[in-house]
């Protein structure tokens, strides 16, 4: 919001970049056609798979789809826990 104001203040370009970015994000999801249930299932599977090898914080796992490069990509963020003192 503030940035938009600053952009306007300095006579910067219009809002079409925003339109394009928002479309690209929403279309990644649209094209996959994943329902909320399917997303949850994916999240669960990924959590289980990673947890088998390393200890992660299940609350912090995030799955995002991005379209920053030529192909859409899935980005998985999983905070790693410190090994418990043995």
């Amino acid at each position: 919001m503030a940035w938009t104001f600053v952009q306007k203040l300095f006579g910067a370009k219009g809002s079409k970049g925003e339109a394009k970015n928002r479309l690209q994000v929403v279309l990644v999801y649209d094209r996959l056609g994943l329902s909320a249930d399917q997303m949850d299932a994916l999240r669960k599977d990924i959590m289980e798979t990673i947890s088998r090898h390393i200890s992660i914080d299940p609350e912090g796992v995030k799955i995002d789809f991005q379209h920053e490069h030529s192909l859409p990509e899935v980005v998985i963020n999983a905070p790693v826990r410190r090994r418990a003192a043995s």
Binding site: G14, S15, K16, K20, L23, V26, L27, D30
Partner: protein, 264 residues
């Protein structure tokens, strides 16, 4: 199996499908092709009105399908171009009252007598859409350079790829001034997102509204910018290599002078 059956579709309503169908139909008829336009929007017919043929409807699409009349009896001949006909939709029935198989048969029958069968698809992706695309071999997709029509167009592309293949895209209501100020997605933005071949760009034009008022589509108006765009699109449909000018709002010196002195 002579003619080409082309469905004009968009996903989102209100982006200019019916207007485009009318202009392409008239444009192809101007080029001496035998053309029939089918109004696929059962229950919400409008192609008759845009074409100025609303007072001449006797039978409609559903009458033909139900065997109440022959196809020939339901076709309305355009007085401007006797080689152009309209098969109007029913205004009282529903999309579900006709099946994709029936549309496929009807389109096949019309293709024997006409060079072009243009099908005006209703908005949405439900039964009306499935009916409209059932008999088509080609698709033209209309969008405007705004977020929701582009999103819906992308959905329609996905559906068309499962049957007809990639549609050819018309970007409608492009505003060169807004494009120049980067307030509107430009041609390359839309093409980068949708990744289908471009058939043409139609500039935003008040003449379209005026044309609708009197039932005389802009393609007939020699002075209209959008009419000129439609005439070029018609050439491309006929296989001619007509360049697509990028509407980026960079007006020429003379136009700028005109703007300065006459405000237009």
């Amino acid at each position: 199996m002579g003619g080409r059956a082309i469905v004009v579709t968009s996903g989102k309503g209100g982006v200019g499908k019916t207007t485009a169908t009318a202009n392409l139909g008239l444009g192809l008829a101007r080029e001496d092709r035998k053309v029939v336009m089918i109004d696929g929007d059962i229950g919400l017919r409008n192609l008759d009105l845009i074409m100025g043929l609303e007072n001449r409807i006797v039978y409609h699409l559903l009458d033909v399908v139900r065997g109440r009349c022959q196809v020939r009896q339901a076709l309305i001949k355009d007085k401007r171009f006797p080689n152009l006909s309209l098969l109007p939709a029913s205004q009282v029935d529903q999309k579900e009252d006709i099946s994709p198989e029936q549309m496929r048969d009807l389109t096949a029958q019309l293709k024997e007598d006409f060079d072009f069968v243009l099908i005006d698809c209703p908005a949405g992706i439900e039964q009306g859409f499935r009916n409209a695309i059932a008999g088509a071999n080609e698709a033209i997709l209309i969008t405007t350079p705004e977020v929701s029509p582009v999103r819906d167009a992308d959905r329609v592309i996905g559906l068309l790829q499962q049957s007809i293949g990639d549609p050819r895209l018309i970007i409608n209501r492009m505003n060169p001034e807004m494009v120049k100020k980067e307030q509107m997605l430009n041609q390359s933005d839309v093409l980068e997102i949708l990744a289908v071949p471009l058939l043409g760009i139609v500039p935003e034009d008040e003449e379209v509204v005026i044309a609708g008022n009197s039932g005389a589509p802009v393609v007939l108006n020699e002075r209209s910018r959008s009419g000129q765009a439609y005439r070029r699109i018609v050439q491309r449909i006929l296989g001619e290599d007509v360049p697509i000018p990028e509407l980026n709002g960079n007006v020429g010196f003379i136009q700028r002078l005109g703007k300065l002195f006459f405000g237009r």
